[in-house]
Symmetry: C3
């Protein structure tokens, strides 16, 4: 697979700086330092300027504002080098997202009444789909995925191998779920009756809205009754845990190993960096950033669009205050020596 | 599926306050704010009193002690509204726990000498069961579950899809394991010989006693030799890690993302809230609560039944002490200003 | 299965102290306190001396330096009791690693052009292998493992049930991966375009070098472009997360629940104890130990072979400094009382 450099330039409708061999075939994409003469690269961070100056790439995507003096390599000016690079990648590489054959693999075990269009979907080997489930057009279901009963999956979803979707889940359009994630497991609810922990049945469900992506080996529990909701466009890294009856807004970001306690409400445009924890039954406002390892134990007020409220620490607080507190221990030697000096002065008076 | 309100009242042997249309059919369960006129709700927390006062539910379960003035909705008085609600849920909803058909799916791959009663069990599609394994009566094995060789599973277990159980595991009665959990993987043991980490073979096993529930994507390692033991009635949330040779007592609770180091001994009635860590080779006494994010680095003394010992912090300490220490940094400005005042006074004398 | 004690002694070429019934058949291995008269045990830690003195084992492996007075049990002197015990375990127990039958199970779904030698490999039930993939000799692929397209797996690997390996991964010799781990999922990369998080395509791959072991339910993302690399001999416990484009050196150790951010470079012989976090785009030098729960936010200098640099805390710092800082809050009462005394003295002057 290769694409002529002139075709890439035409597709991007871009201005080109420095002479380019426009007929050359681009065979791949690579970093500035690793790219060879038939590969395209991109430059989007000043830290890599030296790599740009010595790159052997066939051409480099740069931003419209780029104004460094680099003469040895064709520079293709685009609004976002990273997103343009991304677009070319989709043309140049066969990604899983288009490698499965259409149709239903003969080893798949699909209940009789499942609504599914065998022409547009791709259902891989050993997939299991339970009774009463509907699968939307254009959806890809990877090998070994288990989908329960009465599940609704809308169009153009992509489920990587060994995902499990429990009964009654409702999944929107263009949702991506990576391998091993479990959607709809029982919430963690028990009531101690004096001698044993009695199980609280969870007959609720999970709703995942359109354009959500969920990483590998995540766990999203269903509601005790009613829903656990993942809002439109939210994105999850790997190993993220969402407990029962959590309501998450739109366009949120959850980085690896984050865990959200039961019945929380999370606003829109919330970012939780890695290894964050949120206690149950609290509310995180919209436009909030919890930096890595923040542990929220109480509700936190939201910020403004484009001007998020940052929190940090455990228990979580406004980031400016917590940052000061985190370095406080380092002031101990100074405090102790000053206290000692004061004491000495007083004792010698 | 629906149940007459009078039948619910009769089942619960409950007193009813306010006039009720006892012949009405209850079609579902819902929260106070979301319930409609053919749904039942419950009230167990004063924070929801306003929801109760405006609920449109057909009836509401309340506690025996309930004495608020609420006249517009039938109130069904029971010992525990939450558990009564739970009982009705089991009647009203078809939960996974009774949705699998009895019998062994033709795609299951079961070794010849496996002891299993095809009349009472439910073995889903693509299940694999290894040689020498015994499966108890009434057990449900979800699609894609892989059970190794020489495993013993007692009666009425429930294993959700894609669980993996390694060789030699022994699992008690009524054990529930949610999707993707791995039971019996090798402990993490290596011995550095000066040039490489030599693998320590783990030929032990995992014992899970009766009435244990394990969440989704948990990992429980087997012993190096001998056992890793999960005591009767203990409950695990999602993504919990139990290392090799850990011994856990009865009726413990482990919330999401908790990790327990190798060869620990955990007593009975221990609760570890979310994201707790316990170092290897230590002992946590019975009736201990480790609050969220506690990191135990040394053995911790137990509490009394009904009067647990609470620990917090990293390294873990008694919660009263740690709580004081956690807010200490906030006293810094006060300490510094007082110190400055003292210094100023001395320098001007 | 049993082995004569004399054969064990001969295999280890060991000196024996105290009279031994060398013809006795050893049927198993056990701890000092649990071993019976037909079992072998080992002693390698002074804490277990009382267990040694009262053991009922048929014989006990001890180190060459052992010089306690223990007369009632045969003592077999070896360089490393733990590793010798390990060697005997391999002879005495049928571990999964040699329990799968050779050959390809008829339920496996293997693309036509896969290069695989059906005589030396073991491919379990319901395995799926995609087009263009090569599987090395002697490799075992457990039930339900899904291997994508254009993957290379070298010889003598062992993949436990329900592992998922995405397209283009390259896996070295003798690599072990435990159940449920996901190798090669997309990195977590999005670019916000003002209204939505646009997905950054990840067309890179994962390279796992020889002799790596990966625990259960781990997640290792592929590079955006180019590689995520796990160096030779590195070992991963359960639930470890490695983000896209991370480069990990040789012989590293990652304990449970550790997460490494995107594009990090980790040197050789690095140990990260449990629940460690490493921010993206930083460098951890060789011969570094991050103790449990360390959170590294900046690059950290390496140590020397045999003399590692220890770091602790969040944000991470040299362990000596952090240890002092962690106990600082406990000095507050003393500081406050001294400050009060000084103030009182000044106010009464």
């Amino acid at each position: 697979m290769q694409i002529k450099l002139c075709d890439i330039i035409a597709k991007l409708e871009a201005e080109v700086i420095n002479p380019a061999q426009e007929e050359i075939g681009i065979k791949g994409l690579a970093s500035l330092s690793e790219a060879g003469p038939d590969e395209l690269s991109f430059y989007h961070d000043g830290r890599y300027l030296n790599d740009l100056k010595s790159t052997k790439a066939a051409a480099v995507l740069v931003s419209l504002e780029f104004n460094e003096e680099v003469g040895h390599v064709p520079l293709i000016k685009v609004k976002s080098p990273s997103l343009a690079f991304n677009e070319i990648a989709k043309d140049l590489y066969v990604l899983e997202s288009n490698s499965y054959e259409k149709g239903i693999h003969p080893t798949a075990v699909i209940a009789e009444d499942v609504q599914i269009d065998p022409v547009t979907v791709s259902v891989g080997p050993n997939v299991v789909i339970g009774a009463g489930t509907k699968i939307g057009e254009g959806t890809t279901i990877g090998a070994g995925v288990i989908i329960g009963s009465n599940v609704e999956v809308d169009e153009n979803g992509y489920f990587y191998p060994n995902v499990v979707i429990y009964d009654r889940s409702r999944i929107g359009k263009r949702v991506i779920v990576h391998g091993g994630s479990i959607i709809g497991s029982d919430g963690f609810g028990f009531e101690y009756d004096g001698s044993a922990h009695q199980k609280i049945e969870h007959f609720g469900y999970v709703i995942i809205e359109d354009d959500v992506e969920i990483g590998a080996n995540c766990t999203i529990d269903r509601g005790r009754f009613g829903k656990t909701l993942i809002g439109q466009g939210s994105k999850f890294d790997n190993l993220v845990q969402v407990a029962h009856n959590v309501i998450i807004g739109k366009n949120c970001i959850f980085v690896a190993d984050t865990a959200i306690g039961g019945s929380c409400k999370i606003g829109d445009n919330v970012t939780m960096a890695a290894q964050v924890g949120v206690a149950g039954h609290i509310e995180i406002g919209s436009n909030v950033v919890l930096v890595a390892r923040t542990g929220a134990t109480k509700s936190l007020a939201g910020g403004e669009p484009g001007k998020p409220a940052f929190y940090s620490g455990f228990p979580a607080g406004p980031i400016e205050r917590v940052r000061k507190e985190m370095v406080f221990p380092r002031r101990l030697p100074n405090i102790l020596s000053r206290l000692k000096a004061v004491e000495d002065q007083l004792s010698t008076e």
